[in-house]
Symmetry: C2
Subunit: 491 residues, 2 copies
Amino acid sequence: VETTLREIGLLEDVGSLLSWDQEVNLPAHGTEARAAQIAFITAEAHRRLTDPRFISLVRELLDAKDSSEEQRVNLALVLEDADRAAKLPTDFVSAQAELQSKGYAAWEEAKPRGDFAAVAPILAELIAMARREAEYVGFSGSQYNALLHSYEPYARIEDVLPVLLDLASSLAPRIAALPVQGADAAPLGFQLTVDQQRILCRKVIERIGFDFESGMLSESAHPFAETCGPHDQRLTVTFRESDPLDALYSGLHEAGHGLYEQGLRRDFHRQPLGTSVSLGWHESQSRFWENIVGRSEPFCAFLLQEMRTLFPGVDGLPLDAGPLWRNRNCITPGLIRIQADEVTYNLHIAIRTLIEVELVEGTLAVSDLPSRWEDLYQRYLGVAPRGHHEGVLQDPHWYCGLIGYFPTYTLGNLYSAMLWDKLKVEHTGVEGDIESGDFLPILSWLRNSVHAHGRRHRPLELCKVATGADFSSTAFLNYIDQKLGRLGTVS
Amino acid sequence: VETTLREIGLLEDVGSLLSWDQEVNLPAHGTEARAAQIAFITAEAHRRLTDPRFISLVRELLDAKDSSEEQRVNLALVLEDADRAAKLPTDFVSAQAELQSKGYAAWEEAKPRGDFAAVAPILAELIAMARREAEYVGFSGSQYNALLHSYEPYARIEDVLPVLLDLASSLAPRIAALPVQGADAAPLGFQLTVDQQRILCRKVIERIGFDFESGMLSESAHPFAETCGPHDQRLTVTFRESDPLDALYSGLHEAGHGLYEQGLRRDFHRQPLGTSVSLGWHESQSRFWENIVGRSEPFCAFLLQEMRTLFPGVDGLPLDAGPLWRNRNCITPGLIRIQADEVTYNLHIAIRTLIEVELVEGTLAVSDLPSRWEDLYQRYLGVAPRGHHEGVLQDPHWYCGLIGYFPTYTLGNLYSAMLWDKLKVEHTGVEGDIESGDFLPILSWLRNSVHAHGRRHRPLELCKVATGADFSSTAFLNYIDQKLGRLGTVS
């Protein structure tokens, strides 16, 4: 059992490296062979996990008297994973992985041209495969639940979608009440070169606790984080000349993912007790560092000080943190999810979730996706994309088969606000710590409250364990109201 | 058979990516897990290649009436490889791969500190494993032959070492006759930033025919080339502020390797007919582009023109190609192999070959390696390293288990001069082509003469096929004499 678990872990790390490398390095003509490599490695892992001999050995070990409580919890989850994986034929898993890799490559090529027609066929295939996956593993209620389970285990879309739509309804009047403002309502007034952005991003990420001896930062078309080994955590960002802080905030987000992974138990690497509990919880960590910490007033004060020290020659840095904070909190309905503020972000998620449920349930055809996208953006955010590159092609998720992933972003926002409430109670000086750049108390708290558990608790149980409260949107709405209030009064 | 060959190919490509990534990206603490990943992937490939069922299926197919001549040639070589591989236990192969990866990491850490003591134990282990490998596969004459076979199949050190030492003896009086000159005898007189070096390197490599849609260029501690897929050829260089053209010439060298790989038959990717015939032939390609083309007068004229166009603002570019050509051909005994001129380079190789034969045959202990190195450098080149970083630690080869590799560099020089003689006869306008930057005729000729054959011929047979002559040092010595003559008369 131990050998097989080790081999599966090695294969998963290698598979992650193949994906990471595809997004960061791979030459244009290398995509086909890469898809074949990923498919092969995925199949090798699946074959081991679903080997009946392995499964029966796990069962035996689970019943063995000398297994520790920890081993038993871990093995029970391995068994659960294996039983689920065994419902899928290895050939299917392999073909799906191959198509996902090819889909990513097709998206990467099509996005700059805004060429949705070029990727529509592969998207249709990916959705068909997702539906077959759901048929294989089984589901109750919506077919979508089978997919959602891969990202947010045990969640049901019948519960999640109302949360997302209620939140959208609650946020709508708040957004409507905002003063009308242009995109440059709070301009930054300074510029950073790409080299400076790179230095700043690395420096701040290191400061919040990311271990660069067990991780690295590079560039890709779409920011992401990937685990390629127990001490090999990889983050990527995209540098844009036009916004000097955009990459930093992407970096904070991805570093949030990376810190979670670096905080997992390495003695259970790639096993349930050393794995993240859900994508929603993963997003709670990334959104926590990006937003709750990153878009706070004390953090902006810290950041301003940091930039003054790093770049004494840069003109136009504000005299105090106010303008910076205001800039990072421009609440404006826009087109691009990853550049959205904390409030409207959730509308981007509601739209995507509505659409992917429809795609999976078969009530929306891929050919109608762009018009559905435009309708929903008009209705929820009042904006219209000028091309598919800022519409249906903006995110890679669907095109690389991450279907069922999107709702976890808003779940992450909701978890993160609950964590923040709890942290403030347990650690009253937290805002001062942030301002002085001392992030260790926050990281230690997150490590103990969330990271250390791995998958020991189910996502909603972890919510109770870590925050002491039942899952709800209340903390997040209060957090937003406080921020909006402060944005309205401070000038 | 086809499926297994395909899987082995996928595993080899994945293994190459893991190695490439280790040298280019891997975080410091990621090395242990990476070694385990490489060991595992290597074992999976070895297990498939040596599976008795696979071997007997290959035998059957080889005898099948409907196999084409091409398939038979390919399968016979597969069988030869498999029979040899089967003499090695998979556990041994896996442990060796793991140790090699760890050795590279240890070398990378020790080199900047010049700390030979830190890597001596792992080097001793690697040599012990190399000796065990020789015992497993068997050998006639020197134990070293078993290792040499992995790099230059069918070659025997009893034949190769005299060639290397005779060449050294022939070159010694020529070197002694050179006018005494300082390291700055022919200074370049201009500088390029690292960014400019990067642009130049990429541009020139592309110009000689390297396909960047099926390959890429990045940076690492030691320049190398690696094949990670049929359309995924990776080159690395190291940029140094102090020499504006150093990275370019490393790049030409690595691109020579890359062009060979890109010229192999992709329908036999990672199979004998789509694999390089030997390391000596590989080096013939890299040394051909780096030296025979790169250090020629017409190439220097082309390069000067290229720099004028790319960097109109750079001060100090010479008025004609003479000073550039003279600078690239400073014949001076030095300490660093990869910065050596075409003449003294072969002494660096003779030294390393002498040493590695002694290490493998057990007549030299690892602890005595530094003093042996110093003695030989004193004797052959009259120079003394100021520290191990420019002595025994300068090259990674031994520390990552590439033992038996070094002689192939000089074999490559000898092959490359023979190729050049033949090319000049078949294509009289070649020097004009180089000067005008039209490298396609050369590349096409190399593709037909060398690349297209894969491993169809043995190395010495290929020499006859490609150059029409029997292998010897004559062409190379004539080439050197012509160059020395011209360097002596042109001012």
